[in-house]
Amino acid sequence: MDVEILARIQFAFTIAFHYIFPPLSIGLGLALVIMEGLYLKTRDKAFHEMARFWTKVFGLTFAIGVASGIVMEFEFGTNWATYSRFVGDIFGSALAAEGIFAFFLESGFLAILLFGWDKVGKRLHFFSTCMVAFGAHFSAVWIIVANSWQQTPAGSHLEVAGKVVPPDYVPTPGEWEQSRMVIDNFWEVVFNPSTLDRLSHTVIGAWQAGAFLLISVSAFYLLRGRHAGFARRSMKIGLAIAMLSSVLSLLSGHSSAQVVAEHQPSKLAAMEGLHETTTNAPLTLFGWVDEDTGRTIGPKIPGALSILVGGNRETEITGLNDIPADLRPPVQATFQFFHLMVAIGGLLILISFSGGFLWWRGTLWDAHSSLARTYWWVAVFAVFLPQLANQFGWFAAEIGRQPWIVWGFLKTSDGLSKVVSANQVLGSLIGFMLIYGLLFFLFIYLLNKKIQNGPGEASVGTYTEPEWLKNRDS
């Protein structure tokens, strides 16, 4: 395999693994703020116990998030050095801002959140929890700014060997070393055309990940008949966040797709498997892209794509056939990941609102109701759905961006490190696979153990001297 495909696999693997954890930090962060806020307001110890249990889960996800996150910052330079030179004037600022404004905030106040229960007052602890949650959200802001600028560059221009070139200028292969994007306007970079829609869609997806973890663990306790009071309260908070965010996710996803249609027509065509440029464009519900014949097979709603993008059937949608072959993304993968994300999004609306309905009817807590028990079983496994939707959404967004690494300016194949060999990348990729495989196994093991132990005294980890130590002393 050549260095390009290896570097892409390594980046995809390390970012996909990392992205299991930040959504949980963001979503659980929000839930912790709600729990501690309710505790302060009601003085009900039950909320305090809840916050302590979920803080322990938060600590575990945060630690692996930190450990796998530092890799990402290094990889731009190690594997994508030409890209780093090309975008440093813009992309680097967002990363540095993320460090100063977000990472310091969340990791600093995390100390108080995890270890400060007995060291500071209730209010200061609540404030720290808010700062951790705020920092987690703020880190999403800056990394989405950076990524959105890659998708829809704005507030910047291309320079070759220190000279401004016309917007449509394509540097010769030898000129990439001397080419770079130069900033014109910081706020135009920050609020580039896709930032706000992609940011809201991403953060809402993270809330769903946190909410469904709450719902899943609560449903598990309800099924086992353990910690019933705790489980009800946690599930109510989870369902409330889930109902709100599943609807918001639909809305923000819709407006994100409209931005894609306007600025990245080839990505939209690949997401929808649309080959012919047409008005009254159909929406394929699910199916298979036959890349040889240039057709997409599956049930279609006539005109629906045009209506979704432009509000009427007359809206013309660009098809893949009108995009030069070397500028098309991999169609099948983009199509399938996008459709899977949308399907899961629909499922999440269904699950959250049927939970809300049962809650409203009062049957949700009835262990004798087969309806409730069925729902609990579904809820236990639903925890994987937002995780998958988050992953698939990013796959669609990033595969659909190909062949560009900076849309319209730099191709992924031109962004590599020139001095790094395929063997070096293969070696590090194997290293990451082994280490992350181990971490994932241990994460699941420890998370399961924490859930089995449950809230209350056991969750606070009362330390008992191990037997083997006692024996040794005597």
């Binding site: 530092i70 731009f76 050095a81 780093s84 540095a96 100390a111 108080i112 229960w117 490190s417």
Partner: protein
């Protein structure tokens, strides 16, 4: 003072902050392996428990600032030092999860395994940071496009390896003083007896590195020769080191720790002065060196970033100091401890 110099200083301050703060975490990570009792080992883990990941953020932010302010330097160093940096990442990952995972099971092999992981991660990270600094100081081959022109084995030269060893010694010394400050009773006395040997270990390795620098690294000695005023810093450095055993013997552990911090700050200052304006010195052809000028972003970006830093850094310092204040004093194991 121009923007490039300001950013050279700010990036230096971020990395110095990382060395001072995570330096003691890494030192504690190495030292804990030599403490036998499980309770005492836990005290070591919990001495850094609340603060280590905030400390690691200094590296993340330093890297981000390097990317933003000096993208050429970031790209050249990170791609050129590919293999050691991947090993550094693996080491930092193991260090991080060892702290989180160790306390979760009581099995002896589990705890001992993570202790070894914590040691190995901390040792490897310290050593590789030193090797990187050594290569940056000594110079590495760069071509006319500022791309790294050596191999992995170019980086394993004796000077860089010696710098790696010195960094290990420095972090061991720093970590032991931090532990003295955070422990009490029998454990405190035991670690206290380690401080002086570790200081001597550091001084010997530092003396050998300095000798090697004077003999072989001309570009740094030239700069110091032209500006003899900077030797004052070297004298201050000696005073700061000498002050550590003095404070320890008087039982003023916090002052000893401050002296150790000052030692590290002065070391970084001397390093920065010896380098400026170079950021990666090129041998054998110095014309290809990356400097704070030819490797920088545009003035506009440096200006915007400066505003971000002026807003952000005071806030960060304010709450970091507050958090250290809240967690001041000796470590007490409680229900939330690792």
């Amino acid at each position: 003072m121009d923007l490039n110099l300001i950013w050279f200083l700010l990036v230096g301050i971020l990395f110095a902050g990382y060395a001072i703060l995570d330096g003691f975490d890494l030192g504690v990570g190495m030292l804990q392996l030599f403490i036998r009792d499980d309770r005492d080992t836990r005290i070591c883990y919990n001495a850094i428990g609340p603060v280590w990941d905030g400390n690691e953020v200094w590296l993340v932010t330093g890297g981000g600032a390097l990317f933003a302010a000096f993208p050429e330097v970031y790209a050249t160093v990170f791609s050129g030092f590919y293999t050691p940096f991947m090993l550094l990442l693996f080491a930092l990952i193991f260090r991080a999860v060892a702290i989180e995972f160790r306390s979760k099971e009581n099995w002896p092999f589990w705890r001992k395994g993570w202790d070894i992981g914590f040691f190995t991660g901390s040792f490897l990270a310290s050593f590789l940071i030193g090797v990187t600094m050594g290569n940056i100081a000594r110079g590495v081959p760069l071509d006319a496009d500022f791309e790294y022109a050596g191999t992995f084995f170019t980086l394993l030269n004796p000077y860089a390896l010696l710098m790696g060893l010195t960094t290990v010694a420095l972090f061991l010394m720093h970590g032991s003083i931090y532990l003295v400050m955070k422990t009490e009773g029998d454990l405190h006395d035991r670690i206290r007896s380690w401080v002086n040997p570790l200081i001597i270990f550091f001084i010997i390795s530092y003396a050998i590195v300095t000798l090697a620098t004077l003999l072989y690294v001309e570009q740094i000695t030239d700069i110091l020769r032209q500006q003899p005023g900077f030797f004052a810093l070297a004298i201050l450095l000696l005073l700061a080191i000498a002050n550590i055993p003095r404070e320890i013997s008087k039982g003023r552990d916090f002052r000893a720790f401050l002296s150790s911090c000052a030692t590290m700050l002065l070391l970084m200052a001397l390093f920065g002065i010896g380098m400026f304006p170079n950021m990666v010195y090129s041998i054998p052809d110095p014309a290809n060196s990356l400097t704070a000028y030819n490797g920088a972003s545009t003035g506009k970006t440096l200006g915007i970033m400066l505003i971000i830093a002026i807003i952000g850094i005071p806030i960060v310092l304010a709450y970091t100091v507050s958090i250290y204040w809240i967690f001041r004093g000796k470590v007490k194991l409680g229900p939330d401890s690792y």
